[in-house]
Structure formats: structure tokens, C-alpha cells
Amino acid sequence: MIERKRILEMVCEAVDEMNETLPHAERLEKSEAAPLFGRDGRLDSLGLVNLVVAVEEKVRDAFSTEVSLTDERAMSHRNSPFRSLGAMTDYILHAMESSYAQAA
């Protein structure tokens, strides 16, 4: 059973690392609902690349599993899984559960 809380912690760790490199005014808010990417989002496409790569790496290290957050489903979602930290967390959780279900 993968805990949502654990995934959210990893996403927040990645945000902390990103924030260290950003000027104060551009730092990301660590709230589940705050807009992340897209309309009203703080991240530009390069920022999203940095965050996605950092989160994929943390998931790989913590769970020894590959999760690709940029598959076709993610990119074609009507509601982008990258619109907020909460949506991103749910998307990772769903991707991992699907991956485990397929492997079982």
C-alpha cells in the first residue's frame, strides 16, 4: 500500500530543492491547491521539467520503481496533473498503483 502522504512529502522535498535555486518572489507555494503549472501557475515549462525530473528521481530512489510522469496520458489529460501539487501527488499515486497492478 503506497501512502499518499509519503508521495506528497517527496513532491514537497522536490519543491524545497527547487525553491533553493529561485529568487524569493518566484518560489513555489507548498500548498496542495496552489496553482503550479498552466493557468495562474508559477512554473514555466523549464521549471516543470526540473520539478518532474526531481520527483521521478525521488520516487525511483524511494520505491525502486520507474514512474514516468510525462507519458501520453499525463500530457493529454484535460485537467493537467501538473496544475497543482495535490493533483500531481494524486497522479503519481495513480501511476504507481497502475504499475504495481500490472506487475502483479
Binding site: N50, E57, E66
Partner: protein, 238 residues
């Protein structure tokens, strides 16, 4: 926290034979830590060489390779995407499976290695990627429609990626060798090779060291302002 090694780390694909084997040995002698790969096992007499048995278009295995490199070294300075296959045939006689095989290795393989390498390189905001093109592309060689078009795709990939990763301190360039006496051209008729060499400004076979000369230039830390370039050997113009 992992302490990155003092020596630069380079990934070279297709190191079991030919140019890849030569380049692996060449960069080991220059003091690099070399990670190589090929479908079959390969040996290099150095404790700074690490081999991965994989097909370059097998995404899960490529991801695992880079995951291991990240854990072992925490840095990647350069990638040389040497692995490639060719097939010489009239396009009317070229089976679809051959087309898929060539595009998988030459284009998809190059793409996957660039993607994973760039993720690792961007951590240190430094990286040098060298892809492999060919003079068959600018010379529009008959009988090499698929090989030449796969390398045209590599050229475009090189030039677009150069823009997309520039802000991470990563450069992406390509070298286009003329024929070198390796397995890749073993099946090509002598007449074809002679006519190809005649189209070069300098009409001789390339040597491995000619290729290494260009890769040296591209991966040099001093080449930070050189990106998106395709350099053809022998005076072949783009």
C-alpha cells in the same frame, strides 16, 4: 551524500566493437570513467570501465542504466551516442522490419540516451552530448534511403535539443564520419565506396582518430559556446 568522483564520467554507446570500442579505450586512456553498452558483453581492461548489456532502444533498461550511474557516480560529463546500424538496399527492396530496426537503434536509441543523460547532466549544470550522423545524409547516397533519413532525424534532434537544454549548461552536437573500415560498411560494394570517397574534398577513408578528434573538440569544457553543430569529416558540406 555521495561524493562525485574526481574523474570525468562519459557514457559511450555501442562499445563492443568498431568506433565505440576505440572511443571507450581512447577515453579510458585519457583518464575518464567510461560506461559503455552493447547488446552483447564487452571487455575493456580497466577498473574505470563499466559495461551494461542492453539494446539502446529498450527504455526500462536504459533508465536502469542511468539510475545505476547516478547512484554510483552522481555526475555525468559527456555522452557519445555512437551505437548505430546501417542497411544498404534499394528502397523498393527494403522490408518494413529493417526500417523499424534502423530507426529504433539510430533515432529512438539516441533520443532515449539524450533524455536520460540530460536529466543527470542538468544536476551539475554541465554536459556534453555528441550524436552520430553520417555523410550519407548530405550526400543523399542511393541505396541508403533509410540509414540516411534516420541520421537526418538525428541531425534535427541534435539541433532542437541543443536549444532545449542550453539553459542547463548542456551542449549537443553531432559528428558525421565518412566511411571507416568497420563492420558497418563491410557489405558495401567496393565501387560504391570508391564513388563515395570521390565526393569528399579529401578522398580517403576516415580513421578512428579523425572521429576522436571531433569528439574531443565537442566534449571539451572549452566548447561551451559550440552547440547544435553537425561536423562532417573529409570536407563533405552540409
Amino acid at each position: 551524500m555521495l561524493k562525485p568522483p574526481d574523474k570525468p564520467v562519459i557514457v559511450i554507446t555501442g562499445t563492443r566493437k568498431g568506433i565505440g570500442k576505440y572511443l571507450a579505450q581512447y577515453y579510458l586512456e585519457k583518464g575518464f570513467i567510461v560506461a559503455g553498452c552493447s547488446r552483447e558483453p564487452a571487455e575493456q581492461e580497466s577498473d574505470r570501465y563499466r559495461h551494461f548489456c542492453l539494446d539502446v532502444c529498450d527504455e526500462p533498461k536504459v533508465k536502469r542504466m542511468f539510475g545505476e550511474l547516478r547512484k554510483a557516480f552522481g555526475r555525468l560529463d559527456a555522452l557519445i551516442n555512437n551505437a548505430g546500424i546501417a542497411s544498404m538496399n534499394h528502397f523498393l527492396l527494403t522490408p518494413q522490419k529493417t526500417v523499424q530496426r534502423i530507426f529504433n537503434t539510430n533515432v529512438l536509441g539516441t533520443f532515449l540516451f539524450c533524455q536520460e543523460a540530460a536529466k543527470l547532466m542538468k544536476k551539475n549544470r554541465y554536459g556534453r552530448i555528441v550524436n552520430f550522423s553520417t555523410v550519407a545524409t548530405p550526400l543523399k547516397l542511393e541505396g541508403e534511403a533509410i540509414y540516411a533519413s534516420s541520421k537526418a532525424a538525428v541531425n534535427s534532434l541534435t539541433q532542437v535539443l541543443a536549444k532545449e537544454v542550453a539553459s542547463f549548461g548542456i551542449t549537443v552536437n553531432a559528428v558525421g564520419p565518412t566511411p571507416i573500415p568497420t563492420d558497418l560498411i563491410r557489405g558495401v560494394p567496393e565501387g560504391k565506396i570508391k564513388s563515395l570517397l570521390a565526393q569528399q574534398a579529401i578522398g580517403r577513408f576516415a580513421e578512428m582518430r579523425d572521429v576522436a578528434n571531433v569528439t574531443d573538440f565537442f566534449i571539451s569544457p572549452a566548447s561551451s559556446f559550440i552547440t547544435g553543430q553537425v561536423v562532417y569529416l573529409g570536407g563533405v558540406a552540409a
